[in-house]
């Protein structure tokens, strides 16, 4: 186990390094460097050279890369080309909103997905099961950003129940925060709930077919106890993996939904930064998000190994 965790952490470090190389290279390929962005079209060539020198852009790419990489070990991650704000503050300030949205979406999707999955599996092949499966199939195919717009149309434009734009931190103004988080969280949660539902259903059905379930039934246990105590506990192990992977995606992939709701998280931040060619911020966010995602995946894998004694990685 220790060896497994160690090798995974090593892989994570390699992934982080590889990602940083890719981020660095791809954003260097963009036509026009930071100096041209800063001066827009006003600067003459001489000023451009001076600025390039100040920003260290006249150094060899490899040196620039090492400087940039090393900066993440210090408090100074560079500055935004647009607002001159420190990149570190911009990135760190965007983590909490993203985490809040991801946690809210995960709670909703896991609660709905797991209970619907159990409901469907215990009524296998009934019309209710059939309806639940069909609905989940459509739900998992709907693009969440269209769902987001539909939710805004219904709850904000028509019913005027919930605000469509804005953010409030859960620990500062819980009620306002709940109202603001509801729609983006639902838009993200509905497709994911469908995936969790399908996973729970098939995992539970597989467990219910096992010998020890027949034994449990044969010794006269109530069906409730068989399903919840014996079967669900084992089925949930594989469901947890899916929930964990989805958490990773939520932390990194909610770009479009965050943009629709102008949610001040990492996804919207990445979009704004890339669009305004604010490369230091974009690099910081992409690097951080990817690292976040890889870290969550690692934790899920380790957690998986800890919960399930049958899994041995080494």
């Amino acid at each position: 186990m220790k060896r497994y965790i160690l090798s995974r952490i090593l892989t994570l470090a390699l992934v982080a390094f590889g990602v940083s190389v890719l981020v660095f290279i791809s954003l260097r390929m963009v036509p026009g460097d930071a100096a041209t962005v800063l001066l827009e079209k006003h600067g003459d060539p001489e000023q451009l050279e001076i600025l390039r020198h100040q920003l260290g852009l006249d150094e060899p790419q490899a040196v620039q890369f090492l400087h940039w990489l090393a900066s993440f070990g210090t408090p100074d991650w560079g500055r935004s080309l647009r607002t001159n704000a420190p990149v570190r503050e911009v990135v760190l300030g965007r983590i909490l909103p993203t985490v809040q949205l991801a946690v809210a979406a995960m709670i909703v999707s896991a609660a709905v997905g797991i209970s619907l999955g159990v409901f469907s599996a215990t009524r296998r092949n009934s019309w209710i099961d059939y309806v639940a499966r069909s609905v989940s199939f459509v739900a998992l195919s709907v693009p969440s950003f269209w769902l987001a717009i539909l939710l805004v149309l219904f709850f904000s434009v028509r019913l005027r129940l919930l605000p469509s734009i804005g953010f409030a931190a859960a620990w500062e103004d819980p009620w306002q925060s709940l109202k603001l988080t509801a729609l983006p969280a639902l838009a993200l949660a509905i497709p994911q709930a469908a995936v969790i539902m399908r996973f729970t259903r098939s995992a539970l059905l597989e467990v219910l077919g096992q010998d020890y379930i027949r034994t449990a039934r044969a010794k006269g246990l109530r069906e409730r106890k068989v399903v919840y105590r014996h079967a669900l506990k084992n089925a949930l192990i594989s469901v947890i993996t899916i929930v964990g992977i989805q958490m990773g995606f939520l932390l990194g992939g909610a770009v479009v939904v965050e943009t629709i709701f102008q949610w001040p998280g990492l996804g919207y931040g990445a979009f704004q930064a890339l669009r305004s060619r604010d490369y230091p911020v974009a690099q910081g966010i992409v690097l951080f998000t990817t690292f976040f995602f890889a870290l969550v995946t690692l934790l899920v894998d380790i957690g998986y190994a800890l919960i399930d004694p049958r899994i041995r990685y080494d």
């Binding site: 890719l22 954003l27 199939f137 195919s141 709907v142 693009p143 269209w146 943009t259 629709i260 996804g267």
Partner: protein
């Protein structure tokens, strides 16, 4: 009974996909109006006989724009997923066939690519390469390649030790002959399932990108950019964003059904 259910998924999904393909191939036959014709007398109208899905903010027919938009979505997704399928399969087969260190190195590289959140990766690639169809296709292809590499590798590992491979080798067949004549045909089914599911995913990514203004530049009607425009006018009339959203969802449902149904057909052990 179960067999019929499976056939239904393939049939139903296939029918939807076929419908979208027909839209993309013969838009003139299916569209009721010129998708770019501006008509200020019917701005933001609801559905009617003349405009089955209503009109947008410039009075253009939404149905016709949805039909024409199918072509952009399908061509971009097909080019991207097709390239990913070829590249991913080659990578996966090489990794599985080489095994050992080469395999390890290749698959770690694939892990690296998977570690990027896909929209973010696509956005970065487009930032680096500039706007346009080429960038979008390359971005979506790169996002999808590691998945195919994993599928191909797992499938090859599954059959590598089979007797017919050993027999071919014993008969003196060249490695490349074995790969093209024995390995490839046998790993095709899981790759086809992956292809169908990836098409649905690619269409969503393409729509997301064009929604963010990173897709094909106007005047090409793309579902994502139509949704973006429609969103701004939905307080007056939601029809500008309902049509393209429905088309998008239906297409993804079609590809997912097709992929799911094929998976069940190809895998007789997994009967649920």
């Amino acid at each position: 009974m179960k067999f019929i259910v499976k056939e239904k998924a393939v049939g139903f999904g296939g029918a939807i996909v076929l419908g979208i393909v027909l839209m993309a191939l013969f838009p003139q036959a299916i569209a009721v109006a010129d998708p770019n014709r501006i008509d200020v007398s019917v701005l933001l109208a609801g559905p009617s006989l003349a405009h089955p899905l209503g009109t947008d903010e410039l009075g253009r027919d939404v149905w016709s724009r949805v039909v024409v938009g199918a072509r952009v979505s399908l061509i971009v997704a097909l080019a991207a997923v097709g390239s990913a399928l070829v590249a991913g399969s080659i990578i996966g087969v090489v990794a599985a066939w080489a095994s050992g260190r080469v395999d390890n190195l290749i698959m770690r590289l694939m892990d690296l690519a998977i570690a990027f959140p896909s929209i973010l990766l696509a956005m970065m690639i487009i930032a680096a390469l500039g706007l346009g169809a080429r960038s979008v296709i390359i971005a979506i292809a790169l996002v999808n390649t590691p998945g195919f590499a994993r599928i191909a590798r797992a499938a090859v590992l599954g059959i590598k030790g089979e007797l017919y491979i050993e027999a071919a080798r014993a008969l003196g067949a060249h490695e490349s002959w074995i790969i093209t004549h024995h390995v490839l045909p046998n790993i095709l089914p899981p790759l086809m399932v992956g292809f169908s599911v990836s098409m649905g995913f690619a269409i969503i990514v393409e729509a997301s990108l064009s929604f963010l203004g990173l897709g094909l530049p106007p005047p090409h009607p793309a579902w994502g950019s139509m949704l973006f425009k429609g969103k701004d006018f939905m307080e007056i009339s939601p029809w500008g964003m309902i049509g393209p959203g429905l088309a998008l969802t239906l297409t993804v449902v079609g590809f997912n059904l097709l992929g799911d149904g094929m998976r069940d057909l190809f895998d007789p052990t997994d009967r649920r």
